[in-house]
Amino acid sequence: MDTYVESHQDNQLLAALTPNAIALMRPDLRSISLKQGHELYDPGDDIDQIYFPQSGLLSLVVVTKDGRFFETSAVGRDGAVGLQAGLGPRRSFTRATVQIAGKFSVIPADRFASIVQDDRTLRDLISRYIEVLWAEAQQIAACNAGHDASARLCRWLLQCADRIGLDLVELTQEFLAQMLGARRTTVTLLAKSLQEQGVIKYRRGRIQILDRERLKHFACECYHVMQSGKTGLTTITQSSFAHGDVLFQRTRR
């Protein structure tokens, strides 16, 4: 069994490559382990490697002048960080860090760029992925502006779980608070309410999703929109507030 290829296949982008493309990439594609907190890029850094998560989660954040962090994207098995460098030398716009430790397929950017020149399907992959990222960024911007903290927390937990392929998400409440742009107390209270309803179970640094359907019910529609890969802006209005409410629809287990 060729375990070298098998582990790369855990990443959905790599799994979707043509045999020719994967053959071109294999000599330069390595599998590495990275710990939580490992920094990949700061804004302005040259992108020198492309990271394809097999497990674990990468997060891209904007850090504002007052030192607060705001989520722009979380990338797991569904994507890659730095893929645009396949089109030529590129710099990072955001800070990219390892949010959940895991295994990552990596390839040097200059090697990847020269391979991309030889394979049309790789160029297509990059274009399509960038389009998906753009659509997601639009949705997240609308979500952050229009949806409340509890709906966004539920969406975020589901997306993390999907992207790492596990129902156990190893993230602290402090981190969640930063990603949501909320106070940690707010996250604590919402998490407590979710736990009391049997939706999640947590202890320090670990959140286990117990009732995925109920969590989806509490998440904003952005979860479903982003999951189905739809593009374009969604109008966030009072009438579209049709999902459940963590605080107002509590049932005790």
């Binding site: 229009g146 409340d148 903290a149 107390t185 604590t188 507030f241």
Partner: protein, 78 residues
């Protein structure tokens, strides 16, 4: 600096803050409580269309003693 705990009550059930937050003094704790309430009640496009009339947030010290109580309905958006 001291640990403050922020419990939320909806008139029927309690959501207890078991983590606590380290803050300078009770004034900072009050300001923190106001922001938490804003985050729970509001989003950019306005107040969540819910009945918040019975919701309160209480601030407790390490021993659990209640130091301050705020009504959600007294908090306006930031």
């Amino acid at each position: 600096m001291a640990m403050f705990y922020f419990n939320v009550h909806d008139g029927d059930l309690l959501i207890a803050d078991e983590e606590g937050t380290d803050l300078v003094d009770i004034d900072a704790a009050r300001a923190h409580a106001v922001v938490v309430v804003q985050e729970l009640m509001f989003r950019r496009s306005g107040m969540l269309d819910r009945d918040w009339s019975e919701w309160t947030i209480s601030i407790h010290d390490d021993d659990g003693a209640e130091m301050l109580l705020l009504h959600f309905s007294d908090v306006s958006p930031q």
